[in-house]
């Protein structure tokens, strides 16, 4: 234990030196570090959102409303086909995750199956004896659709965020149907949240001129129609709520848009101009040609933003959405249309937003606590162990450096609990030294020689040190696996700290003691 081969000494010194070198960039601001030459290590610790400020948003892709929409579409088709082929039925409705109805004539089940098959081959039909039938989606097809929807959503969210100019946003999939968005350094999360959260599904539907809005509001919606609310007017928030009854059938949908731009009309009001691709342009032309003089609803996320009367057939494939827009809302809508509609609505499951103020405060508080804590421990060790206390403190210094270097190099995220973890680890790190020193004292008291006391101290304490560190590591590993965000940060610094303090207590302290022993050849151990 008291003899160090030269290469081992070199290795220990090298690790310590590297620790210091890789910690240094953290002492400077990001701006100044960028100006350093390339061969100098520059990587800094990456700060968590609770220290840097920013938003952590966990979204869930809500497939249930998409499924409901699809079932509704199938239902509409079914109704048309049943009437066409004169298949009698009662009670046709969407019930939860399936379509239920009763066939009047059970013998026509095979005809019915053929129809369903033609609408969508993935649908599954069951028919009971009394003619009660249910149509559900194939689970494998649903899963595939969910996967596609999630991937698409991630793409679209990324596009939207990019357009807002937020730098360094991270967007990643979590589990089956969740998306994690991290927006560091953002000062106005509400606008970005609004942009991400909006499904932005735009459809053009005909208003039903024969329907009575009042009747519909009382629950009697004509078949094939739906009751929609008008979108709120940002310029007039206290205006009364308007309603429209529109045909459910979508004439043109927003996924055929190629461009959308905010602009002004001739009365200088903000509007959004749009352009369709060839398919959309044709559908738009057909729909407008067939319905001149009738009102046409422009629906965004099931709310009607505008319902102009069609003046003439529009064959150019472009148009203007006039509504109650402010400059900002026109801008936002154009952005959303360009980025594309989300295939399914996104719900926020969890949000953690920290303002940059609080972030800076947290860093100061954490750093101060750390520094004071470490200073106290350093003084304590010198007071209670004298020269050997100084050895322990030097080891502690390198311990801290190596830990910071590891954090910087690994790109691990430092959070406020993470800083607490550093302070804690420093307090616990000296425990190893205490174990060794107390053992040495005991051996000396027992009458052993200097060298064998030192030897015994290090040897006997080794096993205990490893045992006690491993148990803390277990706690740290569990927290890392099961925790999220700030707790993960704590687990990382705790676990890293355990490892580095193993190194510093066992190797660095020993090296210092051995060097002192060699150089001074003491008669007494001042411990």
């Amino acid at each position: 234990m008291l003899y160090f081969q030269t290469w081992k000494v070199m290795l220990i010194l090298a690790v310590c030196a590297l620790g210091v070198i890789f910690t240094v960039p953290n002492l400077f601001s990001e701006a100044s570090v960028l100006r350093w030459p390339d061969w100098v290590p520059k990587k800094q610790v990456s700060l968590g959102l609770d220290l840097r400020g920013g938003s952590y948003l966990l979204y869930q892709v809500d497939m249930s409303s998409v499924e409901k929409d699809e079932l509704n579409n199938v239902l509409d088709e079914l109704r048309t086909q049943f009437l066409d082929q004169k298949i009698g039925y009662t009670g046709l409705a969407v019930d939860g995750n399936h379509i239920a109805f009763v066939l009047r004539d059970r013998a026509r089940a095979s005809d019915m199956r053929a129809i369903v098959q033609k609408i969508d081959p993935d649908l599954q039909v069951t028919v009971g004896d009394g003619g009660a039938a249910a149509i559900t989606q194939d689970p494998a097809a649903l899963d595939a659709r969910r996967a596609t929807a999630v991937n698409q959503s991630i793409e679209i969210v990324r596009r939207r965020i990019d357009e807002t100019g937020t730098k360094e946003a991270t967007i990643q999939r979590v589990g089956d149907d969740r998306i994690l968005v991290e927006l560091p350094g953002i000062s106005d999360p509400d606008r970005v949240k609004a942009l991400i959260g909006k499904t932005a599904k735009m459809t053009f539907q005909l208003v039903d001129p024969n329907a009575s809005v009042d009747e519909a509001r009382r629950g009697r919606v004509p078949p094939g129609d739906e009751l929609l609310q008008g979108a709120p007017d940002p310029r007039n928030p206290t205006a009364a709520q308007t309603y429209y009854v529109v045909h459910r059938r979508v004439m043109v949908s927003g996924d055929t848009l190629t461009d959308a731009q905010p602009t002004f009309n001739n009365t200088n009001e903000p509007v959004v101009s749009f352009k369709f691709n060839a398919i959309g342009a044709r559908r738009f032309a057909d729909a407008t040609r067939a319905n001149v003089g009738k009102p046409f609803a422009i629906v965004l996320d099931n709310k009607v933003i505008s319902a102009p009367v069609i003046q003439e057939a529009i064959i150019g494939g472009s148009g203007i959405i006039e509504g109650s827009f402010t400059v900002q809302s026109a801008n936002d809508l154009a952005l959303l249309l360009r980025a594309g509609a989300l295939p399914a609505p996104l719900t926020i499951l969890e949000e953690r937003t920290v303002g940059p103020d609080l972030g800076a405060d947290s860093i100061h508080a954490g750093a101060l606590a750390c520094i004071v804590g470490i200073a106290l421990v350093v003084v304590f060790m010198v007071v209670f162990y004298g020269l050997f206390g100084i050895f322990a403190d030097i080891a502690l210094f390198f311990n801290l450096c190596i830990m910071m270097a590891a954090l910087s190099l690994l790109g691990a995220t430092l959070t406020l609990p993470g800083i607490a973890g550093i302070a804690l680890t420093m307090g616990m790190a000296v425990d190893a030294n205490v174990l060794i020193y107390e053992r040495i004292r005991e051996e000396l008291r027992g009458g052993r020689s200097i060298i064998s006391s030192l030897q015994a101290g290090f040897e006997r304490a080794f096993g205990t040190i490893v045992d006690s560190h491993v148990t803390t590591l277990v706690a740290g590993a569990l927290m890392f696996w099961l925790g999220e965000g700030p707790i993960k940060g704590f687990a990382v610094t705790l676990s890293l700290g355990v490892l580095t303090s193993l190194f510093s207590a066992i190797l660095v302290t020993r090296l210092l003691v051995v060097t002192w022993l060699r150089r001074t050849k003491p008669k007494l151990v001042p411990i």
């Binding site: 966990l58 999360p189 719900t347 926020i348 969890e350 949000e351 937003t353 920290v354 303002g355 103020d357 405060d361 508080a365 954490g366 101060l368 606590a369 004071v372 804590g373 106290l376 421990v377 304590f380 060790m381 007071v383 209670f384 162990y385 004298g386 020269l387 206390g389 406020l416 609990p417 607490a420 302070a423 804690l424 307090g427 616990m428 000296v430 425990d431 205490v434 174990l435 107390e438 004292r441 005991e442 008291r445 006997r460 205990t464 006690s468 560190h469 491993v470 148990t471 803390t472 277990v474 706690a475 569990l478 099961l482 925790g483 999220e484 707790i487 704590f490 687990a491 001042p526 411990i527």
Partner: protein
């Protein structure tokens, strides 16, 4: 070089085992008390587990008028709204219960509050946890705690014998339960950060216990016929110096976190402070004496040694 300050000049000779029955009684009382407190008073769950919203706001126009704010927020019909001063006089902490309904309802509530408060405040922090994630975090938290206890026991069993494992688990379990009792008593907010404190306390407590067990094992090997009472006492006394010094260094680090670490870490620091005290106590007065009752095996002991033991503990 100056002489270091040595408080404990020789190995003391405190008869820990004589007090051990008192220690067991005290531990039992504390454990039962904690369980009762937990059942009756419950924990002050943070939004991480109960769902809901926390908004930390700073009024821009002088100190916060809590009464007016409370009246304003109550009028929004968002259920019970907690409002308290937080640090400086112009900083408030608003807490909304979990809104009935889905995850989306939580965000709507936040929007409503922000609308109401308008431009009079700036938002330092907003945290929203919906019911879905809340449940998941509870599950993860409970699982982490249980797994930690089991893993620790397995490790100690592996490194020592099973009897040591039982002692280790009992003492760690005691520490966990009494820390939860403390949370209940002081109604400290129980969130993810304080759960991390509990796990860290478990790690620290075991740390301490293992050091003592190590010494017991060594003494067992050296003095094969020593009776357990003397053995345990000797081990505890020999490690006492280290125990006190280590508790002090960790306490120094935790105290500075408590004093300087800010509001967010307050619950964590208090828990840790209690944890190191109770962790040390449990190693001395639960883990060690338990070995007397659950004897680890070793080579034949004299009948006299057994008799002498019985005398000492009477």
């Amino acid at each position: 070089m100056f002489r270091p300050l040595i408080i404990i000049k020789r190995i003391p000779n405190i008869d820990f085992m004589r007090l051990h029955k008192l220690g067991f009684a005290l531990s039992l009382v504390m454990t039962l008390g904690s369980v009762v407190l937990f059942g009756v008073r419950g924990l002050n769950y943070g939004i991480d587990f109960s769902g809901g919203t926390i908004i930390e706001a700073r009024t821009l126009t002088g100190p916060a008028d809590l009464a007016k704010m409370r009246a304003d927020l109550d009028s929004l019909n968002l259920g019970a709204v907690q409002l308290q001063s937080f640090g400086a006089p112009n900083e408030v902490l608003i807490r909304l219960q979990r809104q009935p309904g889905s995850d989306a309802a939580q965000e709507r509530a936040v929007a409503t509050v922000k609308d109401k408060l308008g431009k009079t405040v700036e938002y330092r922090r907003v945290e929203v946890v919906g019911p879905t994630v809340g449940h998941e975090l509870i599950r993860a938290g409970v699982m982490a705690t249980v797994l930690a206890l089991v893993a620790i026991m397995i490790y100690v069993w592996f490194r020592f014998e099973w009897q040591f494992g039982v002692g280790a688990m009992m003492s760690t379990l005691h520490d966990t339960i009494t820390t939860i009792g403390l949370f209940s008593l002081l109604q400290i907010e129980f969130n993810l950060t304080t759960l991390a404190a509990i796990l860290t306390i478990a790690g620290y407590s075991i740390n301490d216990t293992v050091v003592i067990y190590d010494r017991v094992r060594e003494t067992m090997r050296r003095h094969r016929s020593m009776d357990f009472v003397t053995l345990i006492n000797k081990s505890l006394n020999e490690t006492l110096s280290r125990t006190i010094l280590t508790v002090t260094t960790v306490a120094l680090a935790v105290l500075s976190l408590l004093v300087f670490g800010g509001e967010v870490l307050r619950g964590f620091s208090i828990a840790m402070l209690w944890g190191i005290v109770v962790g040390t106590y449990s190693s001395l007065f639960i883990a060690a004496p338990l070995l007397f009752y659950i004897r680890p095996k070793r080579s034949a002991r004299g009948v006299e040694a057994a008799a002498a033991e019985a005398e000492k503990v009477r």
